[in-house]
């Protein structure tokens, strides 16, 4: 029952935060809600026993890709909405409440840590785990696609550098 409840909770968080992504007016807020959606999807992957995919989801999507998004949003310096005093106060209060909840959680976990219950052996570890199994498939059956994807990433990197150099530098080289 607990996995189903966790799935429902993660799914609700993912749906609500992805709705906020497309509904919120501020692009930075949209990006942060997208991070929340990706993290809850990572939780769902963990529930499904796909540990490696869940971790890669957090590292690549919520880490690398969203940092790139936020960097570009802030680099472009789009129109930002004016903040009113009420919103700031509300946000600060919410921050304190969330911090208190987090602190209570930590205290609770620490309490359990000091008084550990009986070790449950209901979940037997499969040998090697999900990551080893995935690596076995990836480097045997899917070796050629793996190499191709490495090539794709290299081409994308070169392309981004060429495009990101900008028109101005190009024109300077042309002597215009």
């Amino acid at each position: 029952v607990i996995p189903q409840m966790l799935f429902a909770a993660f799914a609700a968080v993912a749906l609500v935060s992805s709705l906020m992504v497309i509904l919120h007016r501020n692009a930075v807020t949209s990006a942060l809600f997208l991070v929340l959606a990706f993290c809850s999807l990572a939780g769902i992957y963990l529930l499904m026993g796909a540990e490696f995919v869940g971790m890669v989801q957090v590292i690549v999507y919520a880490g690398a890709i969203m940092v790139l998004f936020l960097f570009v949003i802030m680099y472009l310096n789009l129109k930002h909405d004016v903040e009113t005093g009420v919103q700031v106060a509300l946000r600060r209060g919410l921050g304190w409440v969330l911090g208190a909840i987090l602190f209570a959680e930590g205290a609770l976990l620490l309490g359990h840590r000091w008084f550990p219950g009986p070790v449950s052996s209901s979940t037997e570890m499969q040998r090697g785990g999900n990551t080893e199994a995935l690596g076995g498939v990836l480097f045997s059956r899917y070796l050629f696609p793996f190499e191709v994807i490495a090539m794709v990433l290299l081409v994308a990197m070169v392309g981004v550098i060429v495009v990101g150099k900008g028109l101005r530098a190009e024109r300077r080289e042309d002597g215009r």
Binding site: V21, A27, M48, I65, N130, L153, V163
Partner: protein, 100 residues
């Protein structure tokens, strides 16, 4: 065990939200985020069916999709930055010329 139908329903919801985001938003950056949402919905289906059929292939494909998504985001954001330098806007309905 989580029924596979739940994952499919969640994935359908995420994909629809992504499609609506692409259609209704003007900001090119938010449109890109919606595309990311759709890619994630597809990933969820791959993982769910991979577990249903008890094979690792779904997770391997998710790995490839993530790599392609990373490349796509990098190239797309570079294009958006160039577009902003050229036209001083990222609103797609103001970008209506092929000539810069």
């Amino acid at each position: 065990m989580i029924p596979v139908g739940w994952s499919l329903a969640l994935s359908a919801g995420l994909f629809m939200i992504g499609v609506v985001g692409v259609l209704v938003r003007r900001n090119a950056l938010v449109i890109f985020m919606s595309i990311e949402l759709m890619l994630n919905a597809a990933n969820l289906v791959f993982v769910a069916f991979g577990r249903q059929m008890n094979s690792m292939d779904g997770q391997v494909i998710v790995f490839f999709v993530m790599a392609v998504a990373a490349a796509e985001v990098a190239v797309g954001l570079a294009i958006i930055v160039n577009l902003f330098r050229l036209r001083e806007t990222v609103f797609v309905d103001e970008i209506n010329l092929l000539k810069g």
